[in-house]
Symmetry: C2
Amino acid sequence: MRMPSEANGPDAGAGALLKILRDGQARTRAELVQLTGLARSTLGQRLDALVSQRWVVPAEEAISSGGRPAVAFTFNRSARVVLAADLGATHARVAVTDLGTEVLAERAAEVPIDRGPEETLHWLQRTFEEMLAESGHTTGEVCGIGVGLPGPVEHSSGRPVNPPIMPGWDGFPVPEWLGERLGAPVLVDNDVNIMALGEHWAARPEADHLIFVKVGTGIGCGIISDRRLHRGAQGAAGDIGHIQVSPTLDVVCRCGNCGCLEAVASGAAVAARLREAGVEATGGRDIVRLVRSGNTQAVQLIRQAGREIGEVLASIVNFFNPSVIVVGGDVAEAGEQILAGLREVIYSRSLPLATQHLTITASDLGDRAGVIGAAVMVIEHVLAPGAADHVPGRP
Amino acid sequence: MRMPSEANGPDAGAGALLKILRDGQARTRAELVQLTGLARSTLGQRLDALVSQRWVVPAEEAISSGGRPAVAFTFNRSARVVLAADLGATHARVAVTDLGTEVLAERAAEVPIDRGPEETLHWLQRTFEEMLAESGHTTGEVCGIGVGLPGPVEHSSGRPVNPPIMPGWDGFPVPEWLGERLGAPVLVDNDVNIMALGEHWAARPEADHLIFVKVGTGIGCGIISDRRLHRGAQGAAGDIGHIQVSPTLDVVCRCGNCGCLEAVASGAAVAARLREAGVEATGGRDIVRLVRSGNTQAVQLIRQAGREIGEVLASIVNFFNPSVIVVGGDVAEAGEQILAGLREVIYSRSLPLATQHLTITASDLGDRAGVIGAAVMVIEHVLAPGAADHVPGRP
């Protein structure tokens, strides 16, 4: 997943220092010696390396504690840039951010993922290069590239694993392909995981345990456990679209089973039910438009979809006891109707202890959750304490 | 939860050193300087403190690297003892262990938890004191006390929260009560959490994500996410007994809802069905006896209970993607019959990616999982890097 070089990351041993400094507060050498327990000479060497690479800069105002004012150091959010992409089934959102996820440049485009990896990634490479140039940066300043894909991804290799809606992508070496062309390490994850990361970082940093449910063409969720992404043993965690909700219902799902959540409550399923009722609808955006215009059938169906998703989430609330459930994705833009159905079932079926302080809410970041999350994934990786100690290819 | 003093834990700042040394390998001062990045003088001070408190001892054989042999240091598992208790609805298991969870003394007894906290904890205090004396130790050597209770526990205070089968225990200050009498910090958690900890530590240390399902009078599970216990926002995670499995079934559960897993598949539920069929059975142990003696009705019912538990676990496998599911508790002693029903449903309902390397197995530790886990909870707390930096009451 880390390709092809981490030359743009901080040097080995700097992790603990950066972890302390990245909160943005300025600190003197003496304070840093105390906080890290490092010998003054070791601290000096590591601090010098970080300053020479511009990860850390002397703060403008020096700190005085009675005697001679001491120079303070602070984290430099502009030291490097991050390239982030959220590739969906048909849309893509791409951004250049700083190390605090501030967006320096951003684009959205129609890019059908089913055209295969070569065509999609060529477009992405070109777009990244154009956006870097437009925002006045170079590939030399890129510390990492984060990519979200609409299907299962093996976390250790960054390769898609049998993604159902991505013909040609199975096992494709996305990190190597992009990394060789752009000269920076590449991290890949599925779209719901990065949406959970983005929403947690930007809108709900205080939540220890968060579930981000994406309701779009399909249904899936990203899981934050103890402030960290829970990917599961095969990176398959969060695949709630194939949990059975209606065993008696004769709806065959693309997975081969009957009564899966996705087969009854996804954007695709609701659109199909609308068409059966003679209402024109092809996907999530049509449903949202119909709901907003007050179409009764659409409102009824989306509320029922909310109840069916609520059934699955009621079990998850008992099992996982999250503090926040965030609902995002195309269909979630239908807003309160879907949340109402969802809450109705969760409050009636989950245990009071688990729901008494539970927040159930729409996504704050909306369609930017994924691209912000892709940037967060890179920043967390590059600045993780000790990450640089295990850089492949370093002696 | 930590009461009343941590005088028997290692000194502040020793965390990082102990984390390295507790794997049991012997290391020289030079190796420890390199591994910690600490200044030689700081390392020396911390090492001296640990040696004077006997947390660390000089290794028997010195290490030679060509020149003069250097003294090596190693973690001392016998430095302190741990008191551990697993209190169930009617049985209790109590142990004295060393810092590697080796059991130095152990007892099992019939102790009905519904006699209330005072009577139960008086018994526990007496038993701990007797076992300490018998094993040749004193309360001065106790570094901590771990207690598992059969109900929800607020993790931060160690107090039971509305425990349904524990009259008189709601909000009772267990850590303060025991801590004042035995002079050591007390950690309390619910029984399934400590069973998950014990099984993970002793039998499945390689598993990143593990679910321990206890099937006894009730049904609950303990969750290990990324090698750490996932307790959830209110400490209520793992309460799967009240997930709905049979909405159409007219079985009212003690929680007030219908068709809960616990109301159809727990030891109490299966025993009730057996009695309806004219077979004498009051709980899990009777069911196990009947299954082992080949009683067809008991075998059928326990297999069906396995299927119902499997329905809930199939959803959890899709959501959480564990690497191991361990089944324990009284009823689980019925062994392969319950596992067969469980596997049947999980393999048919969960996604292939999530089940391809999934292990579904009976508990290795059996009825010792809880007491070993209670000891693990204490050891992890006392030896956690940095834990001693935040000791309440220390200047």
